[in-house]
Subunit: 504 residues, 2 copies
Amino acid sequence: MAKPKKQPRPKAETPKGFRDYFGPEVTERTEMLRTIAGVYHRYGFDALESSAVETVEALGKFLPDVDRPNEGVFAWQEDDSDWVALRYDLTAPLARVYAQHRNDLPTPYRRYAMGPVWRNEKPGPGRFRQFYQCDADTVGTASMAADAEICAMLSDALEIVGIPRGDYLIRINNRKVLNGVLGNIFGEPEAVAETIGAGDPSGEERMQGVLRTIDKFDKVGEAGVRELLGKGRLDASGAYIDGVGLNDDQIEPVIQFLTSKGSSNQETLDNLTAAIGTNAVGGQGVLELRQIAELLDAAGYGPDRIVIDPSVVRGLGYYTGPVYEAELTFEVFDEKGRKRQFGSVAGGGRYDDLVKRFTGQAVPATGVSIGVDRLLTALREKGRIHSEAHGPVVVTVMDRDRMADYQAMVAELRNAGIRAEVYLGNPKNFGNQLKYADRRDSPAAVIEGADEKARGVVQVKDLILGKQIAENATLEEWKERPSQVEVPRSELVATIRKILDGQG
Amino acid sequence: MAKPKKQPRPKAETPKGFRDYFGPEVTERTEMLRTIAGVYHRYGFDALESSAVETVEALGKFLPDVDRPNEGVFAWQEDDSDWVALRYDLTAPLARVYAQHRNDLPTPYRRYAMGPVWRNEKPGPGRFRQFYQCDADTVGTASMAADAEICAMLSDALEIVGIPRGDYLIRINNRKVLNGVLGNIFGEPEAVAETIGAGDPSGEERMQGVLRTIDKFDKVGEAGVRELLGKGRLDASGAYIDGVGLNDDQIEPVIQFLTSKGSSNQETLDNLTAAIGTNAVGGQGVLELRQIAELLDAAGYGPDRIVIDPSVVRGLGYYTGPVYEAELTFEVFDEKGRKRQFGSVAGGGRYDDLVKRFTGQAVPATGVSIGVDRLLTALREKGRIHSEAHGPVVVTVMDRDRMADYQAMVAELRNAGIRAEVYLGNPKNFGNQLKYADRRDSPAAVIEGADEKARGVVQVKDLILGKQIAENATLEEWKERPSQVEVPRSELVATIRKILDGQG
């Protein structure tokens, strides 16, 4: 008889760019999101959980023009008809939800959402294809009070999860001000305001060049920006970077805009007004910033927390008014050991056209998205996450037939609010049980052999103290094992509690 | 010039079978899962969040044999090479995770997981293609203490979320006992135990028929099962259902097995022992049930909470030992107004072969999955979810230029822990503001016009009382509007608090 063909074993791997999250990685994130949700809720925002799968048509941006939708999303065809995709953010689904349910939702509609999103992008170190976002948006109002409220709420949220005042800064700009500056340079201010970059291709190219250059202001400074807007620049590595090719008359207003930041919001706004001149769109942008600044000032959110800053440029094309970004300003060491500012953890702005796609009616909206994983990383870097110090207490199994006794012990401990488990592996090798307790990072192991049972006592091994002794003690001291105590069975819970309280 | 072609508007719809969850639907589920996670954690289980996307190869069951993987999962091909899919449960990913990370995980590994899963099935009323599961599993131990622990933990979890003792029952059976009975009837007990249904096709067909019939025991009773196992049965609708075609000697042991449930676990186990006879596999199954019963008995989980019940048949083919199911025993009205037992909300069992697919080594495992949406429905039916009684307090806008004043009011309320928001829509029509407050289910609206501002007072409208009056009062009474009070601005927070406390 022929040997049956052996199936090759499947590989135990996540798909490329995906990962699993274990223990504290999950619970710390859950706890942080719960805290943020509490802030959002107090501000009157309602929870929304939209479906993870959307039609490609509703997601918009990535309509299938060929056989397969654009890169960037995970999309597939259902039943030889509709293309569907995993959501790539929480904003596009919100626009769909609002358009679908607008008759049942309050106007304005304040909502928050938290959950995973998926991006079909090249994975890299620390860059995954599934990650969490945490958004808050207000749909259905053009009032700048909505934008001011979101910035204030973001400030509250950052502080409540553990970023103290002084360690973060929320910076606000307005896309209209930038559009006004560009309109002054490239002409057709109205057209530029409507669709940035529309117009002749060379003008569009230069406009994009200006935007990219503005984004480098923090890095290369005023002189660098001047060179990059003009003929070009020799960078630190010795490479020559071609410039955008503007003349001095065109460069000047961009520099004036970029360096508008004064010592107060008032001064910044005055500088911006001067930079904009008579440009109508730009003037509207400055007016909006002024309204936001006044509201925040009245609410006590000073420039130590939220500040007008013209150098903020956010990437997404759909912003139409105020844009904002939260940066963590403390320094961390990067992978090469260099000190760096931690950088951005949240951003957002006003997008007035997203719902219009569905309904034909313009629906003004503004909102923020927190990069959950980056914020968690920041909190861990600063030691602001107080995760559990230890794993569960492990009750060892000395006598397999007395499992019920050991289960009674863990039940007692749990009822006292203490995390505890009985060893469920093969109990034959006691060393393995202690190794298991070690791997579980247990604060204590409980031992009750036949002898202890007969005498009505248990042995309690203080594994926290044990570790300290193992690190510092001589072999003699180690052998005396003072970290193990014998106590009456009735004192089990009290003894464990002492160990957990650090008085063991 | 030709009119530019108009793009049709995208439809604002979820894909078929998907839905969105709003406000309390989200927060009530989050809160319930958090409570359950607390129980699991106290039992020593660690959180795990695996990626939502898995390779089809790792998911197993649905290997692509043609161009497109089987129905049942949402799957697509990445980069013309690997097929990937959305997870359809939390157990298959656990097997992959354990195989992948087994060197870094403790053995046994207790883990819990909660999150959405996706099924590419025909949607129906209340049946969606994305839904939540909440699982707890112990991997790496063959000890029946693991199964007993999971059942006890499930019992604790149900009670803590609000299902009181007496309103639920966890029933335990063992697949091996059933295999033993079938082995006695169809012969080749070892082969039957290894792969149920292997053997000659007609035998397999009859075996499946027996399983289906056993599942109907609750519905048709002993006499009905006898008929269905034999020649057939005329059902209530007058239709004749063909029987499995067993003879009386074959029917008897099945009936004996099915009716083994005694007045105590002890009696049930004795009856099962008699039903099994000398069958080795069946004997092992009864022994396992006996161990579980003893452990639960010692831990105080009596048959009012967890009971051995031979009529439990769980669908999944991969269970290899104990199977368990949690039923809610209280009655609800179904869509036709008939009284029904609420039914199953959780189930699970032992599956010893899932990890072996990856590693070649058998890894024993056991676990339970809670149907999150069904449990939530049950809690709502029983009024056991105490959602917020009201929405946020709404501060109305009488004077658009004094937005800062209104924001100061909401800030004060929030700082006092009261959910509050300022109206952000167009304030021109005051009626719309009150309609908004109504739609938000606000407990109170705050009004401060120029006159109130000048006199240092605010108007507070008690909307809870207002609603009561609107329902009961005459027009005269209504016009007096006693539900609106004028208070000093400094007493705003105290006045709102009185209303929230029901003393407004």
